[in-house]
């Protein structure tokens, strides 16, 4: 097998520092947004006692799910022994760590008492899916960190497969945990199903790969390195499979609910009467997030890199819409405490709960995205993560 040369990006150009500064600015905005929310309380957000998890959770859960998915490219290389993916693996691992960092920061900075994070680290209730996630997230950093080390340090290279396999199994459990955060909730009709765990796993495959592809293409385009079509075609085909699988899971989930009379009201809300949520579901999640990317990638358009990038961007936008519908849509529908009766109270019982995200919430979420990209931008400068060239000839040699 031919060897591949990895090299840091130089990172001294004006363009690099402009990108660094731009992302840094959003990290700063995120920090200010947190400071504002923490000082005045959640009263300055659009959240209330009906919509208790808002836009920050949409960003946080999306980033955490995408993080585990971003690791997939590395897993294919080491766990499934596909040599073509080996040069793509280090970026995959660092992106996974960076996205996880961004997601977790948004999650913990949105706590009512984010200053009490130490309490969450020292007091555990092992019946809580949240507690399990604390360990799953920490373990993810440890295992992917070790895996990255085995990829970068020749002296421990022989451990790469073992570390990669451990990280792969861990990430499957982790996304099961993330899906189960919702799957283990009995109160709301759209949660409380084992479907959510595998559905989150397949969503992570799609979102993570879409982000990975965009970062990969950007990194190669902006550093003037060659990225051949062989790599793009392979990853593009993989994305098609993942997006189609997401669509399959979403259809099965809603079809099953529609069959049960007790879920018909909530399904009608999401699929037909929910206003913004219905729009976000059909236009955002289904058309933008699934159908349009599939059409682009499966048609002749999918041969052009620009269109592949558009498809990736659509998958990401659709993913955020999906999280919005999954997290906020499920809360917006009123709890059915007295089936068959209409309810009215000062606490908005029996009515659809409105939610208007505030500016600080948006910037806290964007801050998480920015910190993930900033960490990646910094990492490719200081670590040898990117092959000097991924032209078709180099990649072809790997497979023979």
């Amino acid at each position: 097998m031919a060897s591949i040369t990895f090299r840091e990006v130089e990172g001294s150009s004006l363009k690099y520092w402009l990108l660094f500064g731009f992302l840094g600015l959003f990290v700063l905005f995120g920090a200010l947004a947190w400071n504002y929310m923490h000082h005045y309380g959640h009263v300055v957000t659009g959240m209330d006692n009906q919509i208790v998890w808002g836009l920050p959770h949409v960003f946080a859960v999306f980033l955490i799910v995408a993080a585990s998915g971003a690791l997939n490219v590395a897993s294919i290389a080491s766990v499934f022994n596909k040599p073509m993916y080996k040069p793509l693996a280090p970026l995959s691992a660092i992106l996974a760590l960076a996205l996880m960092l961004g997601g977790l920061l948004v999650l913990v900075l949105d706590l009512g008492r984010s200053d009490r994070l130490i309490v969450a680290m020292t007091h555990f209730n092992f019946k809580s899916m949240f507690t399990w996630n604390v360990f799953l997230y920490s373990g993810f950093f440890g295992l992917v960190g070790v895996y990255l080390w085995t990829m970068l340090d020749r002296s421990v290279k022989s451990w790469s497969k073992a570390a990669g396999t451990a990280a792969f199994i861990w990430r499957l459990i982790l996304t099961t945990g993330t899906g189960s955060l919702f799957g283990f909730l009995i109160a709301r009709e759209l949660y409380g199903t084992a479907m959510l765990a595998p559905m989150f796993i397949i969503m992570s495959f799609a979102y993570g790969l879409a982000i990975y592809l965009m970062v990969l293409v950007a990194a190669y385009a902006w550093t003037g390195r060659t990225l051949g079509d062989a790599v793009m075609t392979r990853l593009k085909t993989l994305l098609v499979v993942f997006v189609a699988a997401v669509l399959y899971f979403v259809v099965v989930h809603h079809m099953t609910n529609l069959y049960f009379a007790k879920y018909q009201a909530v399904e009608a809300f999401i699929l037909r009467d929910g206003g913004l949520f219905t729009t976000l579901f059909w236009v955002g999640q289904i058309i933008i997030g699934c159908v349009a990317p599939l059409v682009i990638l499966l048609s002749g358009l999918g041969k052009q890199r620009a269109w592949i990038m558009i498809a990736c961007a659509l998958v990401i936008v659709g993913g955020v819409a999906q999280m919005y519908v999954t997290i906020i849509g499920a809360q917006a529908f009123p709890l059915d405490m007295f089936p068959g009766l209409t309810e009215q109270s000062s606490f908005f019982d029996g009515e659809v709960h409105g939610y208007m995200p505030s500016v600080p919430e948006l910037f806290l979420g964007l801050g998480g995205v920015a910190i993930a990209l900033l960490a990646t931008t910094f990492a490719v400068k200081v670590l040898r993560l990117l092959p000097v060239s991924l032209d078709d000839a180099t990649v072809a040699k790997l497979e023979h």
């Binding site: 209330d48 899916m129 405490m337």
Partner: protein, 258 residues
């Protein structure tokens, strides 16, 4: 294993003595139990004694007696526990509500029902299951509480509660706080069954007292484990339901007339 064997070998040596000790203990227990119970009810629980699982505090809501437009239970709760009434709040949408009046109507028959809704003090509380730090907990006497000092404000309990019984304190609190009802911005809170009153030995909650004072008598608080208590007696007589009984959470609040 050998230890187990030796234990079982010893067992038949003094069966009579065993029976005597057992019977004597039971008799002594029976003799002093009512006294202890009376002492507890009359004087409250001493600070150094934990809550007892011999007691299960509960409430019977007779919705047939709950008056339309009456908000006395809500006002009494707000006064007792120091939370701002929603009508006086600057941010009513985000204001905590420990108890609220629900108006139900059957669209077919137009039958109207009024009832207060608050923490149902489940025996199997989903909020306690999901709380990552253990801040949500159930006392031995069945009262479900939030430890104000370990709650991190993650709101997972609010996602898990089928009764929307919990509120997050969204803004800094004014000086209406009561010394024995700790609250704070960023923490989750809910009905405590007036735990401070229960521990003082009042044997009643502010909402039930207010309902009685108004002459409605729709709320009855008491020990559901004590077969002689008023609440147990009424629960035996009246048909009652648990809200979302399908979830099998074994609620501490039972409703009549729904």
């Amino acid at each position: 294993m050998s230890e187990l064997n030796s234990m079982s070998n010893q067992a038949p040596e003094s069966p009579e003595r065993r029976r005597f000790v057992g019977a004597a203990t039971a008799a002594a227990g029976l003799a002093i139990a009512p006294g202890v119970m009376l002492y507890q009810v009359a004087h409250g629980r001493p600070d150094d004694q934990p809550a007892s699982s011999a007691v299960r505090w509960g409430m019977l809501v007779d919705s047939t007696k709950c008056a339309t437009g009456c908000n006395d239970c809500v006002s009494a709760c707000s006064t007792e526990n120091g939370w701002t009434p929603v009508a006086e709040s600057e941010h009513p949408r985000q204001a905590p509500q420990w108890i609220r009046k629900l108006e139900l109507e059957d669209p077919l028959t137009q039958r109207e029902t009024n009832l207060p809704m608050m923490c149902q003090h489940c025996a199997e509380p989903p909020c306690v299951d999901v709380c990552p730090t253990g801040a949500s907990f159930k006392r031995a006497d069945g009262i479900v509480l939030v430890n104000r000092h370990t709650c991190i404000g993650c709101r997972y309990c609010m996602m898990a509660c089928p009764y929307k019984a919990r509120s997050l304190v969204h803004e800094p609190l004014n000086d209406t706080q009561k010394p024995d009802v700790p609250r704070g911005m960023g923490c989750v809170e809910a009905c405590t069954f007036c735990v401070q009153k229960v521990d003082r030995g009042d044997g009643n909650t502010a909402c039930a007292e207010a309902c009685t004072a108004a002459g409605h008598n729709a709320l009855l608080f008491g020990d559901m484990n004590d077969p002689e208590s008023e609440i147990s007696r009424r629960l035996r007589e009246l048909p009652t339901k648990q809200v979302r009984a399908d979830l099998n959470l074994n609620l501490g609040v039972r409703y009549h007339g729904i």
